[in-house]
Subunit: 349 residues, 2 copies
């Protein structure tokens, strides 16, 4: 069933059918109804490819989840408590806005060609990327295509510095620095002076912000900076677990550990537990992200809540705005986080 068939059945021309479909104003109600009736009756739906080829948008956005470090992990992002909510929230919001969503995962540099192709082949009107590495090439590559792009968790400084075209680019972040600072102030307020840190991927903006907040807090309060207490977790459970074991074996433990995300905090807690170190009695632990499990484990994990739903909605709104109105809404939206106090931290006072 093509528009021409509808046209014949309704006794009009294809142009008229097209006008009805696209809600052109100068068309009498009578004609409109006549055409609409046939369309209904035959369950006609215009062919998307033809419409796109004739100049319409695809009404589809791409959502790209970048997780380069997890390349060799079979249970990949769905074991990752950070990305899953973004995927769902973006889909929900975009669907509600009448957009289809093409979701693609990026585990390797090569996967990026698929992302680029999605744009270049005109499969999507615009795209959202989450988890981008501090890799200006990639951003320039994709951003240079001149198509609407929203980056979730990216340093606006990078963009400015490299003079990227900002007309179809937007950034959505969370206030990670503030959130991490809140976590540190909380621990310090509880009387902790020896505080360890499990770092995330420093190639991500949030990873760097959280690390910097840790360092700044120590310095601000004149607390000791122990290299041995600084673990490299890369946002991954396994790494955090291994590093925690190493720390335990070293014989010297801090009184508190701030982890750059909950997944790693939980992994570290497992390691501690297995070695007879009690949380929070011996060591306090606080995470980041406030993933659903955080409240379900024992002891429940204190954390910093990330407004993932708000961030996702903002990202979708921005991309839709750019796709439809050609709105060049450059700028960073930064969403506040919230300290969630639970049972994994104890006061030393």
């Amino acid at each position: 069933m093509r528009s021409e068939d509808i046209a014949k059945l309704a006794g009009v021309s294809r142009s008229t059918v097209s006008r009805v479909i696209n809600n052109y104003p100068d068309i009498p109600q009578k004609t409109r109804d006549k055409v609409l009736k046939i369309i209904e009756q035959y369950h006609y739906e215009p062919n998307t490819s033809a419409r796109v080829l004739a100049g319409k948008g695809t009404n589809t956005i791409g959502f790209f989840v970048v997780s380069l470090a997890e390349q060799h992990n079979v249970n990949r992002i769905y074991q990752n408590n950070y990305f899953a909510p973004f995927v769902d929230a973006v889909i929900d919001t975009a669907n509600a806005a009448g957009y289809y969503v093409l979701v693609h995962t990026v585990y390797s540099k090569e996967d990026f060609v698929k992302v680029k192709q999605a744009f270049l082949q005109k499969r999507i009107d615009g795209g959202i990327i989450v988890g981008t590495q501090k890799d200006i090439d990639t951003v320039r590559d994709i951003g240079g295509l001149g198509m609407p792009l929203v980056l979730i968790d990216y340093d606006i400084g990078e963009i400015m510095e490299h003079h990227l075209d900002q007309n179809h680019l937007a950034i959505v972040n969370s206030k990670d620095y503030e959130g991490a600072t809140a976590a540190m102030e909380y621990l310090i307020g509880l009387g902790h002076r020896e505080i360890g840190f499990i770092a995330g991927r420093l190639t991500t903006f949030s990873g760097r912000q959280r690390a910097k907040a840790y360092e700044d807090a120590l310095q601000r309060h004149g607390l000791p900076v122990e290299e041995a207490f600084r673990l490299k977790g890369e946002f991954l459970k396994q790494n955090a677990y291994d590093e925690a074991i190493r720390l335990i074996r070293s014989g010297r433990l801090p009184t508190a550990i701030f982890s750059a995300n909950d997944d790693m905090a939980i992994a570290a807690m497992e390691a501690l537990k297995e070695h007879g170190v009690r949380v929070p009695d011996d060591v306090s632990v606080i995470g980041f992200d406030d993933v659903p499990v955080a409240s379900q484990i024992v002891p429940s994990l204190s954390s910093v809540r990330l407004p993932i739903y708000d961030m996702s909605r903002e990202a979708v709104n921005k991309i839709v705005g750019m796709c439809e109105a050609g709105l060049s809404s450059f700028g960073t939206s930064s969403f506040p986080t919230q300290l969630i106090q639970r049972d994994s931290c104890r006061s030393l006072r």
Copy 2:
């Protein structure tokens, strides 16, 4: 940049460019290289809409997640431990097979028109649906379109009974009946005779299978069938929590509870804990799905593991097979489950 531009630059015709792109055999290496070089050089990518319009496939599959009961829950599927892994596994597998994935959520009957449109508008070559209700209309509607369709968790009996065209339809299930039976046998083997059940949505195939296995097990062992021990959870945490409270207040508890999924089992455990009922000391609990959290809570939850990754891969393989070769691979693939014993069940002997 269009194929014509490439043609000019390479000194050939558009057809030749097309032949190179589509890997036609009868084209000399020299010509091929010449064209390929220009394509590389200009980062040319053929316009998907044009290719599709000219008869090619979209190389895109749709993945539709149906969760009708959660319509009014803001934190929807990403709070759902059952769907999230499917989403990710399908995307991963399809991406690896060179396919793009259009993901859409269905929370209401109206959302189904979006699903139908995705097919009718030729946005996808085929689709996978998970969570379909026992609603043959929907299946007939979508299946009647004549496009490749794979249903995850659906009763093949429904298909047969209604004489649906089976040439482009396949079903992928897990052995829920066997899995639920294993869970029941496990509890019974531990000496439990009063066993409660938290039912899932009986409109889903797995929901019905799990319920039937419960009933059959009781009957087979001549155990009492207490209506009061049969809770209606609809696969939702909140319902399970509320029902558990009701059961506790009734004053009579079974010695064990089999929950049709882990989310509900965990919710029930919370309710029990809040009312001073100890698990597994007072009541043993076993769930289904073996979601990641199951092993992380205290006590760790015994469960039945679902081979989500295998099911997803099979679904993708089937859909890809049907899309590419026009393979009419009708039939049901049914994947075995695995009983996972943890700390939430105790022996009464």
